[in-house]
């Protein structure tokens, strides 16, 4: 918070609106955290619960980093949850059906996810279908693909295939530890840092932002914008598929639409993080803070015994408030 005050100091007077726009999300994060800590000091602040929060944030953040890249290049993605679920189905099937080792299964899964999602890029880049509609179609297609491939059900160790034939593959223990603390948290931190360095310090990050901000100006500056849209799409798919693998690792199985629940929190995280520190563009650090806000909120609400069926409503309200504060004070 000291940083926050420092950053706004040089401006003449205290720009209340600007402060709220730039730091509102961080402020909300702190308020929510303190509120839960004070009302439920024993349970909420217990080390076990903190780890639980970090674990749940890890998946949201990893998927949200993928979405950050998509949004930075000026796109949008509704199908992230379905894509992540598809990756989960793939990796569990590699383990249980084909007995592929872990260090081969992970790159294979990511590669397969990227190849599948090239269809979305084809629709968007080649056929100029608006992102929203193209990824809506992808969402249905990926959900159907996952079910068709798995034979209409969930996948887990020892479970026979849809035609009744037995499976012999085991899900490796090392894979289980991937979805547990501290590995999953380390993976999240690495992902956030990599994305941050990539987007902020490399030429590619620059061109991605330039394309997202003004596609025509970027093109007329000699940037091959279509190629960068494709590149950003592939990169985003990489992170979303990794998120799906983490979900599978946490569950040690592939559930039907197992990662669908992460789609909206991840999109929320990117939008909440967009305005942090006056960035006014999708950025990795902001996305992480946004994911933390959503994760802590969800965890605390569950602990306060808010019924699960009301959670989405509360999360929706918080997202609406965060977005309203970020957009209303932004200068047009």
């Amino acid at each position: 918070m000291n940083d926050a005050v420092e950053a706004t100091k040089p401006k003449a007077g205290f720009d209340y609106k600007k402060f709220l726009s730039n730091w509102g999300s961080v402020l909300a994060l702190i308020i929510i955290f303190v509120f839960f800590a004070v009302t439920m000091p024993k349970t909420f602040l217990s080390p076990g619960n903190i780890v639980t929060i970090l674990r749940s944030i890890s998946v949201t953040t990893t998927i949200a980093i993928g979405l950050t890249i998509t949004l930075a290049v000026g796109g949008f993605d509704l199908s992230a949850g379905s894509l992540a679920s598809w990756a989960g189905v793939l990796i569990i099937s590699f383990f249980t059906w084909h007995q592929v080792g872990m260090w081969l299964s992970i790159p294979l899964t990511i590669l397969a996810a990227i190849i599948t999602n090239l269809l979305a890029m084809l629709l968007i880049v080649r056929f100029k279908v608006p992102d929203l509609l193209a990824t809506l179609a992808m969402m249905f297609m990926l959900d159907g693909l996952s079910l068709t491939y798995s034979g209409g059900g969930a996948l887990s160790q020892g479970m026979p295939r849809a035609d009744g034939s037995p499976t012999f593959g085991k899900i490796p223990e090392a894979f289980k530890s991937m979805g547990q603390a501290p590995t999953i948290i380390i993976i999240m931190i690495v992902v956030v840092l990599l994305a941050h360095i990539f987007l902020t310090y490399t030429k590619y990050g620059r061109f991605i932002y330039a394309t997202g901000e003004n596609k025509e100006a970027a093109r007329l500056s000699g940037i091959p914008v279509q190629r960068y849209r494709l590149f950003a799409g592939i990169l985003a798919t990489f992170f979303i598929a990794l998120g799906g693998i983490l979900v599978a690792s946490r569950n040690m199985s592939a559930q039907i639409q197992g990662a669908a629940g992460f789609s909206m929190p991840a999109i929320s995280a990117v939008f909440i993080g967009r305005s942090i520190a006056g960035a006014e563009k999708p950025n990795a650090i902001g996305t992480f803070i946004g994911a933390a806000l959503v994760g802590i909120l969800e965890n605390g609400l569950i602990m306060m015994s808010v019924p699960y069926y009301s959670l989405d409503m509360v999360k929706g309200i918080v997202l609406a408030v965060a977005l309203a504060s970020a957009y209303s004070s932004a200068r047009r």
């Binding site: 932002y209 093109r219 007329l220």
Partner: protein, 422 residues
């Protein structure tokens, strides 16, 4: 009223019949909430027959050509039994055949339907074809009222009236010894017929103007020169060697720079700071290791150009959206100076900037010419073309109508050729 931009007045997803009958449908049905489609179609069909249009009433307007859309718009006006029809630059997007067709329609309306027609146009030969009397406006004032077309009233006479008193600009003295040809276009055309078989060249240290009125195809040509229009034919030579300029990336690699007309939409990224805007076309210069951008080098680059170009900004980290038009234009040029381009294509570079900044942009262009760069200066302001260029190509409806030496020509002559004179 038939607008210049027909698309703004029509509903692309409705049929021809609905578009023609639109006003009746909106205002003439107070008591009925159900549309009587039979009536609508019948009335629309009658209009189409009356005007002898070759369009089916059931076609969607989005499927029509520009010329047909115009006809639909005129059809709507006729359906309302209008007594006066105002056509604002109706021929700008049309081909010669379509123009003839439009003229036939206008004559029919004037003689059979007793409609008074006001025909607004830059294209003087057309006025003499279709009009009975001409009114000339200059700077918002009428300078010639209702001149009947007689043998005395010629294109030259009208041009004279359009210009009023000729005023002399002060030409700065420049070294006009030019080097070899640095950039040459041969037989450049686009796919829409807006640019046809253009041959243009520019030499080292030369400022070449492309003059022409709005709609002459100048902007379309500038995009072709920079590889920004995928669909087109012709050859581009740099220093006598043929190069492929398939896309903007290739153009940039061949050291061609485009300063486009729509500054905020096409030239700068308003939501980013000066540092990023000034380095975007030359980012490879700032890469020392892998693909990492050297921020301090970038900042130095930005500060250097802010000083060199006299860009007025509180700091290099200011977002360019907060700069004035003139300063934004300097950024748009600066990004190409940073990439050290050899050929600068400038499309209406003084559009929307004040007189002082204009002077500075001119000085900047002179200094580029002194550095033996090739400059193509595209403008519809003839006074600017006369002030800054060495040689000028005059465009008229997608063709180069005439090539002139600036020192030997005049505003009248350029205007004469830009309005279709031969």
């Amino acid at each position: 009223m038939v607008y210049q931009e027909v698309d703004t007045a029509l509903f692309p997803s409705l049929t021809v019949a609905e578009n023609i009958m639109f006003n009746t449908m909106v205002t003439g049905m107070e008591r009925n909430s159900l549309i009587n489609w039979g009536e609508i179609r019948k009335a629309a069909k009658k209009v189409i027959l009356d005007l002898d249009l070759d369009i089916s009433p059931d076609t969607l307007v989005s499927k029509l050509t520009l010329a047909q859309k115009q006809m639909v718009l005129i059809g709507r006006a006729v359906q309302e039994e209008c007594r006066f029809l105002i056509l604002d630059e109706p021929t700008a997007p049309l081909s010669q055949n379509e123009v003839n067709r439009l003229f036939r329609l206008i004559r029919y309306l004037a003689s059979e339907k007793q409609v008074g027609v006001i025909f607004i146009s830059h294209r003087l030969p057309e006025l003499f074809q279709i009009c009975e009397s001409i009114t000339v406006m200059r700077n918002g004032e009428v300078v010639l009222q209702d001149a009947e077309i007689t043998p005395d009233v010629t294109i030259n006479y009208i041009v004279g009236q359009m210009l009023g008193k000729t005023f002399e600009e002060v030409f700065p003295d420049r070294d006009t010894k030019h080097g070899d040809i640095i950039y040459e276009l041969k037989d450049i055309s686009d796919c829409d017929g807006k640019v046809n078989n253009i041959d243009i060249y520019v030499r080292e240290g030369e400022i070449v103007g492309i003059s022409g009125l709005v709609g002459a195809g100048k902007t379309e040509l500038s995009k072709l020169m920079f590889g920004a229009n995928k669909c087109g034919g012709g050859k581009i030579f740099i220093r006598g060697k043929e190069v492929s300029v398939r896309d903007t990336t290739m153009a940039t690699k061949n050291k061609i720079a485009l300063i486009p007309e729509e500054r905020r939409k096409e030239a700068i990224i308003v939501n980013q700071d000066l540092i990023s805007n000034l380095s975007i076309a030359s980012i490879d210069k700032f890469i020392k290791f892998l693909s990492f951008v050297d921020k301090s080098g970038e900042v130095k680059n930005a500060e250097n150009f802010i000083k060199l170009l006299g860009i007025k900004t509180p700091s290099a980290t200011q977002k360019v959206m907060y700069l004035s038009g003139g300063n934004q234009q300097k950024v748009a040029i600066g990004k190409w100076l940073s990439s050290d381009a050899d050929v600068y294509i400038m499309d209406e570079p003084t559009k929307g900037i004040d007189v002082g900044a204009k002077r500075e942009i001119f000085d900047l262009i002179y200094s580029l010419a002194e550095k033996r760069k090739g400059i193509i200066y595209i403008s519809s302001e003839i006074s600017e073309i006369l002030a800054i260029t060495d040689r000028v190509y005059v465009m008229y409806s997608g063709n180069v109508q005439k090539e002139l030496l600036t020192s030997e020509t005049s505003e009248e002559e350029i205007l004469y050729f830009s309005t279709g004179g031969k």
